[in-house]
């Protein structure tokens, strides 16, 4: 280092101070370059070593876990095999393992994780969002019995991401008791796509349907939440929600809610709901109109035929597609056949419907 400094200083005396600065910068950059290159190689080596070590640990733990699960060995003997520095990794191994088990075996696995969960729960106080999120996920899967309160509290975490991980973890068939907690916080996920939220809620199962119905029927709840509730109820095939859905259809003007309700009634409704659906078949909004036509196609009666025939020639292709689908499903193919053989602008659609390729 001294000789390098001497060399650059003598160079400096010869060619001026600016060039010395530049030369230093070059030396610095080349050092950075070498450091980066070495970092890449160290990263590779570290990753390889880590991978080998984890594989070795897993190969040691897996048979021991199986022994515990079948009752041939007690938990304590396994815990003794887990060194303090491997505890977090042991928990993440259990986390992956948990997804393959159910019932009693799952319960035993939770017991195996229990002594280490305090360390995980402490991570909920971390300033790192992703660390908190991972802690929430781990506690929900392996320690909901003992850590339910903190997981529910995570629904109010300042980070919407952590809140979503909590909601996603709580929304499962085994714990319908948390449905309302999740539902009450739907406003926190206002940027998320409603279809995703509905799918998440539906994964709780029919036990949560009363809570969803309550949300759907409440005009004081936001239209977005009601629309998500309607989609979740549809996924659950909840026929009990048909009446509140029809009521909501007559009172709301929100486009997304209208679309959800019409989709719901098209699948689960009956002739009693036609009075609520029919006015929307002439809506000025083609999206609402197309959904109403689809619903009339599914549950309508012969009185709706003129509406469907007119809709087949609707300027919106989406409305026409729904009408064609409805006519084909109703076996009303006379018009379709006539149009299919002509040079009518909807001839392709008619042929498509007749081939059964419309949906």
């Amino acid at each position: 280092m001294q000789s390098l400094r001497d060399f650059i200083s003598s160079l400096g005396r010869a060619i001026g101070p600016t060039i010395v600065s530049l030369a230093w910068i070059i030396v610095l950059l080349i050092s950075v370059l070498i450091m980066l290159g070495v970092t890449v190689l160290i990263l590779r080596r570290r990753n390889n070593v880590k991978q080998r070590r984890w594989t070795r640990l897993e190969q040691g733990w897996e048979p021991a876990i199986l022994q515990v699960l079948v009752g041939a060995e007690d938990s304590e003997s396994l815990w003794r095999k887990v060194e303090p520095r491997d505890r977090l990794y042991f928990v993440s191994f259990l986390l992956r393992y948990a997804q393959r088990l159910a019932g009693d075996e799952r319960s035993k696995l939770d017991d195996l994780a229990a002594p280490f969960l305090k360390q995980i729960a402490a991570r909920l106080k971390s300033r790192n969002v992703e660390r908190r999120a991972r802690a929430v996920k781990t506690l929900t899967i392996l320690g909901l019995r003992t850590h339910a309160r903190v997981v529910v509290e995570a629904l109010d975490d300042p980070s919407p991401f952590v809140a979503m991980v909590a909601a996603r973890s709580l929304a499962n068939r085994e714990h319908p008791e948390f449905a309302m907690e999740v539902l009450k916080r739907l406003h926190r996920f206002e940027h998320w796509r409603p279809s995703y939220l509905a799918s998440m809620l539906a994964s709780i199962g029919l036990a949560a349907a009363p809570a969803f119905r309550q949300t759907l029927a409440d005009p004081l709840v936001s239209s977005r939440s009601r629309s998500v509730a309607a989609d979740a109820l549809l996924a659950l095939h909840d026929f009990t929600a048909v009446a509140p859905a029809a009521d909501a259809l007559t009172t709301t003007r929100d486009r997304n809610l209208l679309v959800s309700l019409l989709r719901f009634l098209a699948e689960l409704g009956g002739p009693e709901q036609l009075h609520a659906i029919r006015p929307h078949a002439t809506s000025s909004d083609p999206v609402v109109r197309s959904r109403a036509i689809a619903a009339l196609g599914r549950i309508g009666d012969p009185a709706d035929r003129p509406v469907l025939l007119a809709a087949f020639q609707d300027p919106s292709p989406w409305v026409a597609i729904r009408a064609a689908e409805a006519l084909w499903e109703a076996g009303d193919t006379a018009l379709l056949k006539e149009v299919a053989d002509s040079d009518h602008p909807r001839a392709t659609l008619a042929r498509q419907a007749l081939a059964g390729d419309i949906t």
């Binding site: 530049l22 980066l36 890449v40 992703e130 979503m164 996603r168 995703y196 799918s199 539906a202």
Partner: protein, 472 residues
């Protein structure tokens, strides 16, 4: 007198070249640092998420894959097979044959048992005439639209017209999507309803082992040009696009793999058919449309969904490709020059657009002439020692540092190249590319700039080699 003027001119130009290199590498440095922070966060976020719930039919939106094909005979069947194996609940594949002169359509007919079928076009974007629509008898979600030749943008527009889902994925017919690519690229749409477009990463498939349409063994290409492009792609996607995404100023989504909200694309008029840079032009137009109409929106880049694509291995084809990319860039930037340094367009107008305008569009000319003037100045003995060192510093050493950091990002986040030899090769190429390849690339881009100024159109021909299959 003249000599003094020449010296003054050379001095001024050399100063400009230095400023250009400092600015260019400075931006790269900023995007690399942002990319590093972003990648770290992204990787830990992925660990906290389960990808499986996203795969549920009710949660993930239906999707249409648009694969425009023009003379893709060697790769079209393999690529389509890869699309059929995607791990996604509800999707349709529309392969759009853009009047291929080879046997693309015949190969597809044979391989997938295609039969003529009726299908209504629900969009009204103007395109060349569609000759016939086919549906596979074996895979009912596979359709082939045969149309008259009209170029890639026209072909994609035809596909959009036939797409019936809220989102479509635009890609190249010769690209291979990884099985989970679609669900991963869709995630930003689920997490933020205002998302209108998302791009994934493009990786080079040359010399990788491909089995049943899937890349099973990732390796560096044997061909030097292709290897250099691997490094270029890593730098462009991991340091560049990841960094721009962190700055919320994504201006480019590669035409080889991007997902778009269909209604918005139709609203802005679809792909522009009068430019060769239709992918960038569409993204810029979407930015502009949303900003001008006060529509909340997000255009994102995600680094884990991967599309594998074949890159050129000959100088001739590569030069044509770079020429075209540069023309596309210039056409787009000039068409939307209103956005330049215009605060109305936020970070896109104030940061990303000026970067592309001054450094990417004008850059090749400055850089190319910079190399010449540097050589002239050195030969004539008018270059100061300070200048020579500074030039070497910003033109070579800084560039190498940035390339090595891209390799570091790859190692940190993805580790696709598992062979130690491949890693050493990438590191070596980070140095080697600065001596010859970079200058060549600058030359091609400069030629592209000249072609754009002369109003030259057209794509040029891409030669396909086909994917490497395991030896039996």
């Amino acid at each position: 007198m003249i000599w003094a003027f020449v010296r003054l001119l050379l001095g001024f130009f050399n100063g400009l070249v230095l400023a250009y290199f400092v600015a260019l590498n400075g931006v790269y440095l900023i995007t690399s640092l942002r990319a590093y922070l972003s990648l770290r966060r992204y990787s830990s976020r992925l660990k906290a998420l389960d990808i499986q719930p996203y795969l549920k039919a009710e949660g993930a939106p239906p999707m249409t894959l648009l694969a425009p094909a023009y003379n893709e005979e060697p790769t079209c069947v393999q690529s389509t097979k890869s699309l059929l194996t995607l791990n996604y609940a509800d999707y349709e594949i529309l392969v759009i044959n853009d009047g291929s002169k080879d046997k693309t359509l015949e190969r597809m007919k044979e391989a997938f048992d295609l039969a003529p079928a009726a299908r209504l076009a629900v969009g009204d974007l103007a395109t060349k005439k569609v000759r016939e629509v086919y549906q596979s008898r074996v895979h009912h979600n596979l359709w082939v639209i045969d149309k008259e030749n009209g170029g890639k943008a026209d072909t994609l527009n035809a596909g959009i017209n036939y797409a019936r889902t809220p989102f479509f994925c635009a890609m190249d017919a010769d690209s291979l999507l990884e099985p989970e690519a679609l669900i991963r690229v869709v995630r930003p749409f689920l997490e933020d309803e205002t998302t209108i477009a998302v791009g994934g990463i493009i990786r080079i498939v040359n010399d990788c082992r491909v089995e049943s349409g899937q890349v099973t063994d990732v390796r560096m290409p044997r061909n030097l040009l292709a290897s250099l492009q691997v490094l270029e792609y890593l730098r462009a996607f991991l340091s560049g696009r990841m960094g721009w995404d962190a700055l919320d100023a994504t201006l480019v989504i590669s035409g080889a793999f991007g997902v778009f909200r269909r209604d918005l694309v139709i609203q802005v008029g679809g792909y522009a058919t009068d430019t060769v840079g239709e992918d960038m032009e569409l993204v810029v137009r979407m930015h502009r449309h949303c900003r001008e109409n006060a529509i909340p929106y997000r255009i994102a880049f995600v680094p884990d969904p991967v599309a594998w694509t074949e890159c050129p291995e000959s100088v001739k084809v590569l030069s044509r490709q770079r020429d075209r990319w540069q023309r596309g860039l210039i056409e787009t930037l000039l068409r939307h020059r209103k956005m330049l340094l215009n605060p109305r367009y936020g970070r896109v107008g104030m940061v990303a657009f000026p970067y592309f305008f001054f450094l990417e569009m004008c850059g090749p000319i400055i850089e190319f002439l910079g190399y010449i003037s540097f050589a002239v100045a050195v030969i004539l003995g008018v270059a100061s020692k300070q200048y020579i060192i500074a030039f070497l510093l910003v033109a070579f050493v800084f560039g190498t540092v940035l390339s090595v950091s891209a390799v570091a990002l790859e190692e940190l986040g993805f580790r696709r190249y598992l062979r130690l030899g491949d890693l050493f090769r990438l590191l070596g190429l980070s140095v080697v590319e600065n001596f010859g390849y970079r200058q060549l690339s600058t030359f091609w881009r400069m030629k592209g700039t000249v072609s754009a100024m002369r109003g030259q159109k057209g794509w040029g021909r891409m030669e396909r080699r086909g994917f490497a299959v395991p030896k039996t």
